[in-house]
């Protein structure tokens, strides 16, 4: 946190110095829009930084100034002398506070209310307090121009090359050992120096990411939202300048995602999402680019609203908007002065964000793109060049030439002659089998059109985002940390290289792009489904597992696994037709047994033992097959009986047994329990959710009416269709509705309103008895 604060102080101080001229110019010419924008951006940036550095006083001042300046920008306020003075007083105050923070001193805050009050229209000018300067702390860090670092770096490379050449020449002659010793010392110093100079430029992107969790947490709390932040690729290294330049854009994008993207928990619940929003910030290297992705699972871009706003702001005409593609309309969020939010707040402001974000990214030669999935989220991708990023590589030889390959893209290196490796020709391509895993083989020298030296001696297993493959090379020569620079367009156009480098040898070397090589070689990988998406699908619809079996009549049927106690094989002799039905005698007890066909003289057969913890029944089958997940859509069976419905499993219709019907038939009802008929609409909801409640309340629930039974009451869904038969029987019906709010008919009960439901059932039965 200290580092961030230091940086904030240095940055603010620097901007203030640069702003001093603008302020004077604005004072002279308050109508000057460019000056106004510069000052506005300054207070906006200060406001943004204060948010996550927890500097409430600065935040308050800058927010107040920003409000006024925004009013001026929109034409609601005239920048008169009083206003200009008031704003300048605030800017001065910000400077004083920043100095005080740096010096670790406290600063009296009594006059700040006055300063803010002076911003109001028709306010009396505040008497500016005498600036209490003079305690500026000695700077502990120096801010350097990156160009200077660039020159240092390239000078360093020159020194290394000169040293190498000197060493080469000295090796050719007989030299004085003292000269050699001096050269040795020079080499060590140069190597150390180079490390240092390199380090001055490189930083892990973690330097950018480390502040995010706190920022996200605080911002989300401020907005009353719950957000889980996931950071990926924190160890990607890139140019310090890139990190500096990406800090503000990233903060803006994340704030936007939290404020505009991720919905309030209640809205998310209604939309059927988990209440906690998800924000993923990831960094990765792709070719000669670093990709930083900010993905949220919020509402996506409200294109219509953005377009309407753009028209209202006069950025484009309605006709122009109509002519735009969807992508172009989404891109409108990058237009200057546009914000899809109508009211500004402390978090994401008024659209100073995205246009500035884009400008900053483009300034460093990067690009910004977005993928909006309405209702499901927004992914913003920042792509910046990898210039000067340093990379651990291995140097490989193929066809007499050297290439570098990023170590991060290599899964494994194996020798092609080992016992664990096999290479087979398949058609006109080749497959390498490494410890039983089959991988497509790409022979590098053949792919590059270089002279081939027989079979590749070494296989490098290269992992790409889509899949892995084996790259056949002649040999691994070295490992080296290389400074990779983008190669010329004509070189990049091959699609094979990620950049070029100048190693100590003084001969340029090309960095191979693992994914590019696969593409050029024509490898096609089946893209693996993101595990996360899968998890999401499962969370959305918890699957009901079921046992799939072949019945005695050769049909495939399924029974919910929860109803199955066990499957056991019994002797046919233990099954007898006694007491009016088939019964199985086992373990000293007799349980009713179902079978859809005769036992056909089988000596023994598997039997499903079903239990509802009180009653046991047995069901004779031909063979258990598999455990499957029941699809959520079930076609209700005609004529009920022991079949609840039909589902599609593996493309075939399969009957699902209704264990309830089996138990109901097996066990004659005790006369005292009130019988309740559940007319489910096939979703199993009543059975799974309602039944335990009703049974606890003393009802006995059945899904179908057995002969001689007379339910006292029936429950059906408001949209259900099976109530006709019931009314014929003269059974009163309580109808349930899915919606919380009452619909057109008042005789329905919201299905999760337990108390109301039980009351309605009791009422209905009571009315019936009286009537």
């Amino acid at each position: 946190m200290d580092d961030l604060l230091q940086e904030f102080v240095a940055e603010t101080r620097e901007t203030l110095e640069a702003l001093a001229g603008e302020i004077v110019a604005w004072e002279a010419q308050p109508a000057d829009r460019a000056r106004l924008d510069a000052i506005f951006r300054f207070v906006h940036t200060v406001k943004g930084s204060c948010g996550f550095l927890d500097l409430p006083r600065l935040a308050r001042l800058s927010h107040a100034a920003e409000d006024v300046l925004a009013a001026v920008r929109d034409g609601h306020r005239i920048p008169d002398t009083a206003l200009v003075n008031a704003v300048l007083a605030i800017v001065d105050r910000i400077g004083e506070i920043v100095e005080a923070i740096d010096a670790g001193l406290s600063l009296d805050d009594s006059s700040e209310d006055l300063l803010i009050a002076a911003l109001a229209e028709n306010a009396a000018p505040a008497s500016a307090p005498a600036p209490a300067m003079g305690h500026r702390a000695a700077a502990r860090s120096v801010r350097l121009n990156v160009e200077l670092l660039d020159r240092m770096m390239s000078g360093m490379s020159d020194i290394v090359l000169a040293r190498n050449e000197l060493a080469r020449r000295l090796r050719d002659d007989d030299v004085d050992p003292r000269v050699e010793a001096a050269l040795e010392r020079l080499s060590v110093t140069v190597a150390e120096m180079r490390d240092t100079v390199t380090r001055t430029r490189m930083q892990k992107i973690d330097a950018l990411f480390s502040a995010l969790p706190r920022m996200v947490r605080d911002t989300a709390a401020e907005l009353g939202k719950a957000v889980t932040l996931t950071l990926e690729g924190s160890d990607v290294e890139l140019d310090r300048e890139m990190i500096e330049m990406m800090r503000d854009p990233l903060v803006h994008i994340i704030r936007n995602a939290l404020d505009h993207g991720i919905e309030a928990p209640s809205d998310r619940r209604v939309a059927g999402k988990r209440e906690t929003g998800r924000l993923t910030v990831s960094a990765r290297q792709s070719g000669n680019q670093i990709l930083v992705e900010v993905a949220d699972d919020g509402a996506g871009i409200d294109v219509a609203r953005v377009a309407a706003k753009a028209v209202k702001m006069g950025l484009c005409s309605a006709a122009e908007v109509d002519a735009m593609s969807l992508a172009a309309r989404e891109e409108l969020i990058f237009a200057a002065g546009l914000s899809s939010k109508d009211t500004a707040n402390a978090v994401s402001g008024r659209g100073v964000g995205m246009d500035v974000v884009r400008a900053n990214i483009e300034q460093i030669g990067g690009r910004i793109s977005l993928t909006s999935r309405p209702g499901r989220g927004l992914v913003i991708t920042i792509q910046v060049p990898l210039t000067l990023s340093i990379m651990p590589t291995i140097v490989i030889g193929a066809g007499g030439q050297r290439f570098a390959l990023s170590r991060a893209s290599i899964d494994e290196i194996v020798t092609a002659r080992g016992d664990t490796v096999r290479i087979d020709a398949v058609g006109d391509s080749a497959i390498a089998t490494v410890r039983g895993e089959r991988l497509p083989l790409v022979r590098l020298s053949a792919l590059l059109g270089l002279p081939q030296t027989g079979e590749p001696g070494t296989l490098v297993i290269v992992g790409t985002r889509d899949g892995s493959y084996a790259l056949g090379i002649d040999a691994v020569l070295d490992t080296e940390e290389l400074v990779i620079k983008p190669a010329a367009p004509a070189v990049m156009a091959t699609g094979l290289y990620a950049g070029q480098s100048l190693p100590d040898s003084g001969l340029p070397m090309l960095l191979l792009d693992g994914a590019g090589v696969a593409t050029v070689a024509g490898l096609r990988f089946e893209r693996a489904i993101a595990a996360d998406e899968q998890a999401e699908a499962e969370a959305a619809a918890p699957a009901v597992p079921a046992l799939l079996f072949e019945d005695l009549d050769g049909q495939r049927r399924a029974v919910p696994l929860a109803a199955v106690d066990r499957v056991e094989t019994v002797d046919a002799s233990s099954i007898r037709y006694v007491g009016g039905r088939l019964r199985l005698s086992a373990d000293g007890a007799i349980v009713p047994l179902y079978s859809v066909a005769t036992l056909d003289g089988r000596a023994s057969l598997p039997v499903l033992r079903l239990t509802d913890r009180e009653t046991d029944v047995a069901y004779a089958i031909a063979e258990p097959l598999d455990i499957v997940d029941l699809p959520t859509t079930m076609a209700p069976a005609n004529g009920a009986g022991t079949v609840a419905g039909v589902v599609l499993i593996g493309g075939e219709p399969v009957e699902v047994l209704d264990p309830l019907a089996l138990f109901a038939e097996a066990e004659p009802e005790p006369a005292d329990a009130t019988l309740c008929l559940l007319q489910d609409d096939g979703t199993g909801w009543m059975d799974q959710f309602l039944r335990p409640t009703l049974e606890a309340a003393g009802y006995r629930c059945v899904a179908a009416v057995a002969a001689g039974q007379r339910p006292a009451i029936a429950l059906s869904m408001a949209s259900g269709e099976r109530e006709a038969g019931v009314t014929e029987l003269g059974v009163p019906v309580v109808r349930l509705r899915r919606e919380r709010a009452a619909g057109g008919e008042d005789a329905t009960v919201y299905r999760y309103d337990r108390a109301a439901l039980l009351a309605a059932m009791a009422d209905t039965i009571a009315t019936r008895r009286i009537g």
């Binding site: 390239s154 983008p486 004509a490 070189v491 990049m492 156009a493 091959t494 100048l502």
Partner: protein
């Protein structure tokens, strides 16, 4: 009067506007770039800088430059440094730029690289635009978009 560098390419004299010229060097070893277009001869190092070496003959659509050709004009296009191979270099002098003579029909790459003429003591010399010899340089933005 503009300043031009007079060079020889494929036996012909050409004038290169000096604002396009970074420096003039004799190249060291050239490392091939497999699969790149033929006019890219390879990469070479100039101090700590990597140069993309352009085979000027191939880029102009005539015969490739000889293998031992080492002399090159360094130019910087879109932030990348290129070494454009030449047979030899003459001198640097000021000339009045003239439009291409009407009726002059240039073939091969000369047509796209020729920008005009200068008169060097009675000899007309073609003014060469180095950027037109560099493959892909002007197409970058289109490809990236």
């Amino acid at each position: 009067m503009d300043l031009y560098l007079i060079a020889h390419i494929a036996g012909r004299g050409v004038a290169i506007p000096t604002e396009q010229v970074d420096s003039v060097v004799d190249l060291g070893d050239v490392v091939a770039v497999p699969c790149a277009v033929p006019s890219v001869r390879g990469l070479s190092a100039l101090r700590s800088r990597v140069l993309t070496v352009i085979d000027t003959g191939t880029a102009l659509g005539i015969e490739p430059m000889p293998d031992d050709c080492r002399r090159a004009v360094i130019t910087r296009i879109d932030g990348h440094h290129y070494a454009v191979l030449v047979d030899s270099l003459d001198d640097v002098a000021r000339y009045e730029p003239l439009p291409l003579s009407s009726g002059l029909s240039l073939q091969h790459g000369w047509a796209s690289a020729g920008r005009g003429l200068v008169d060097r003591d009675g000899d007309p010399l073609l003014v060469l635009d180095l950027a037109a010899l560099v493959p892909g340089a002007h197409k970058v933005s289109a490809a990236a978009a």
